[in-house]
């Protein structure tokens, strides 16, 4: 469970301006890593925005997650350039290596696999990003080694 750091939504929210719902949700995600049921209730109680509206907005945007994420977020670019350069093979290699499908987190909470529309480094296609590090011009067989680096950094061999 998340450690319940206090967030004051009254300062974020409805300072006369209705547009602050999305920044509030972004703040929650930045703090907790995902948007929990409790946080949605909290925003609702403090701001008075109907729950349905908060939930509606949160589910509309691809950025918001409703489940805790792994320590390392692996983002596979599926932009046009990456697609024609073999992003599918990279995704399959990652799925096999991590044992999870797109959008899922490994049971040990080490990795979350995400495919994204475009990371904007098209000339390096195919590209993946792990946390803030970018790896470009990839071949599927390089995946194992890259992932291993992060596993080792996490300490010890991770059981799949």
């Amino acid at each position: 469970m998340i450690s319940h750091r206090k967030l004051d939504f009254r300062t974020l929210h409805f300072g006369g301006e209705e547009g602050k719902l999305i920044p509030a949700l972004q703040k929650v995600q930045e703090t907790d890593g995902y948007i929990s049921r409790e946080r949605i209730l909290e925003i609702h109680r403090q701001s008075g925005v109907p729950l349905s509206q908060i939930y509606g907005v949160a589910t509309f945007y691809a950025q918001f997650r409703f489940h805790p994420v792994g320590k390392n977020i692996v983002r596979v670019c599926h932009g046009t350039a990456c697609h024609v350069s073999g992003a599918k093979g990279i995704t399959e290699a990652l799925e096999e290596e991590l044992g999870v499908a797109n959008g899922e987190t490994t049971p040990d909470r080490q990795f979350t696999l995400d495919t994204v529309s475009c990371l904007g480094c098209c000339s390096l296609a195919p590209v993946i990003m792990i946390n803030n590090d970018t790896y470009g011009n990839l071949l599927p067989k390089q995946i194992k080694k890259i992932v291993k680096g992060y596993r080792e950094a996490a300490g010890g061999v991770v059981q799949p």
Binding site: E18, G19, K20, L21, I22, P23, L25, Q26, G56, V57, F60, Y61, A62, Q63, F64, H78, G79, T80, A81, H83, V84, S85, V116, S117, C118, L119, G120, C121, C122, S123, L124, A125, V127, T134, G136, P140
Partner: protein, 586 residues
């Protein structure tokens, strides 16, 4: 001597930060005396990390592929006064391997990209920045300014190509106490990164363009709606806004006049449809980003019901240049109805992928071959995809099509925001159509039935064709659905979603037919349609037999192996495993 390192996202991804740290360490105390500086994207993404050396006598040398390990040889060569020919890509005297890449370009939007430090306002001011804003404020003639923009012929660079000056005039004439100006930096097209580069490399140009626009229409507040996926752009924009406010170029009473203009940043939360202007407005208001019915257009009723003007990043970056250089300098470039230049993000199977800015009226062939060096591995050029998921594929036969709004639209594609993905003979056009539809289907907001359900049905049909289960009547069904989705959707997303399918059907119909009737993928890209065979090159090492998950490969050790087609599941494992190229796909 000054050494400048390109630190845009592409550069950083290629390791420019390591190069930077290595340079810092080696030129620090005791090292050679050089001044280090940062800059944004030069545009040669394919040769990152890029390092420019500016000599004291004014000569400039651009080196490409300067990783951490190349720093030492580079500095050694510089110390001896030599030029490192292996890495040299460009010099201002015309030498270097990539001189052709820059020679044909005409940089207006990218005028400062890769030359100034985007985090220092003084660099921008030294390059003639904010002169246009000061001029506009001194002249104090908003109508004259709008006339100038109309005369220049600048059209919206976000894709639709509406005359920017007219848009400003509508917003200016709309009654309302409050007006807003919005910069659309929600660059969602997969395969496009022009706006990101401009924001990262020259954020002040966009801010200045917005401030000029705000003065023209009488807005005192502005928003930049930028993708959250562009952290570097956000960081540099925030720095630029703070610096401009500090110098009195934004904020209250700009340069001592009565004009005020506040800019705020809104981070998008990942919805492609928010590139549509009414959806974008909804998103800024904190709602679900769903398009509204137009009219009323944002020019009369936009953000919080107030008249609002929305332009794209590249459009705003053009504005200061037009004000400084005059309308005729701008409209002398380009064709009759499309003036000025256009920035393209070149990607895909092209040798030199990166950013190019070319005058309108240049042909696709010139861009792909003369500037970008042709196709990777000298394969056969098949098509270009313009305009992202809303655009279409233009086949190689039409490569002499000139780039302007009308000519591109005539082919069935659209100018779009500037993503240009090059495809070669190994790209399957049916798969490309399926790829784009998968994207638009996922990003459809669901408001209009035809866009929500129609794209889904089209995607299912295409997936079936790619999977080898196409049947008679599929193409007619696709055509019918494409027409329906196009005519019955509210916003640009739905209206243009069928474009990739329609253009590929128009130009590559035989490929669809090969998938359906012959169960073959001519590009050898759709896996389910491949047959695997082992040639005489096989030495019987049995590596393929061990990886085959369905035991379809048999054969004695050191003898030619065979594949049982009935058992083969086309997983491609044997092809990937064979070191002797003995497995062929047909």
């Amino acid at each position: 001597m000054k050494i400048v390192v390109g630190l845009g996202t592409c550069g950083i991804a290629a390791g420019a930060e390591h190069t930077w740290r290595e340079l810092e360490a080696r030129t620090g105390n005791g090292g050679p005396k050089v001044e280090l500086a940062k800059t944004g994207c030069v545009g040669m993404c394919y040769r990152e990390p890029l390092v420019e050396v500016r000599m004291d006598d004014g000569r400039r040398f651009l080196y490409g592929g300067v990783g951490k390990d190349q720093v030492e040889p580079l500095l050694a060569a510089l110390a001896e006064g030599k030029v490192l020919d292996d890495l040299l890509v460009w010099t201002d005297v015309g030498a270097g391997s990539e001189a052709a890449y820059l020679a044909r370009q005409n940089r207006i939007v990218l005028r400062n990209c890769g030359t100034i430090d985007p985090e220092r306002i003084d660099d921008y001011l030294a390059a003639g920045g904010y002169v246009a804003l000061r001029k506009v404020l001194a002249e104090n003639d908003p109508d004259g300014l709008i006339n100038l923009m109309v005369e220049s012929g600048l059209r919206g660079r976000g894709g639709a190509g509406f005359l920017t000056g007219m848009k400003w005039r509508f917003t200016r004439l709309a009654p309302g106490a409050h007006k807003y100006i919005i910069c659309n930096a929600d660059e969602g097209d997969p395969g496009a990164f022009m706006d990101r580069s401009v924001l990262e490399s020259d954020p002040h140009a966009v801010l200045e363009g917005m401030a000029i626009g705000a003065f023209a229409i009488g807005a005192d507040h502005g928003y930049i709606y930028v993708r959250a996926e562009y952290p570097k752009a956000i960081e540099r924009l925030l720095i630029a806004i703070a610096q401009a406010e500090e110098r009195g170029l934004l904020g209250e009473k700009i340069q001592g006049t009565d004009v005020s203009f506040q800019v705020r940043l809104k981070e998008g939360a990942g919805a492609f449809v928010c590139g549509e202007e009414t959806a974008l407005i909804g998103s800024i208001e904190g709602k679900r980003g769903m398009p509204r019915v137009r009219p009323p257009f944002p020019a009369t009723k936009g953000l919080w019901g107030c008249p609002t003007n929305i332009n794209n990043v590249e459009t705003f970056a053009n504005v200061p240049w037009i004000v400084s250089h005059g309308a005729s300098a701008f409209n002398s470039l380009g064709t009759r109805n499309s003036k000025g230049t256009k920035v393209f993000a070149m990607a895909g199977k092209v040798k030199r992928g990166g950013l190019v800015e070319v005058p309108m009226g240049i042909s696709i062939r010139e861009v792909v071959f003369d500037i970008c060096g042709g196709i990777k591995e000298d394969r056969k050029f098949k098509a270009v995809q313009m305009g992202g998921p809303s655009g279409g594929c233009i086949p190689a036969d039409l490569q002499d099509t000139v780039i302007d709004y009308e000519s591109i639209t005539k082919t069935g594609a659209i100018m779009g925001s500037g993503g240009l993905v090059v495809m070669d003979e190994t790209t399957c056009m049916v798969d490309i159509a399926r790829f784009f539809l998968e994207f638009t289907q996922r990003e459809s907001c669901g408001k209009c039935t035809f866009c929500r359900v129609g794209t889904k049905r089209m995607l299912e049909t295409l997936t079936r064709i790619c999977g080898g289960e196409g049947k008679d009547g599929d193409l007619e069904l696709l055509e019918q659905l494409a027409g329906l989705v196009k005519n019955n959707s509210l916003c640009g997303l739905g209206q243009s979603a069928p474009n990739p399918v329609q253009t590929t059907l128009k130009y590559f119909r035989s490929e669809y037919e090969a998938h359906i009737t012959n169960r073959k993928c001519p590009a050898h890209s759709c896996q389910k349609l491949l047959t695997y065979d082992i040639t005489a090159a096989c030495n019987g090492c049995d590596a393929c037999g061990r990886v085959c998950p369905s035991q379809a490969i048999t054969g004695e050790k050191k003898k030619l192996h065979q594949i049982d087609h009935a058992k083969c599941i086309q997983c491609d494992e044997c092809f990937k495993t064979c070191k002797f190229h003995a497995i062929v796909r047909n």
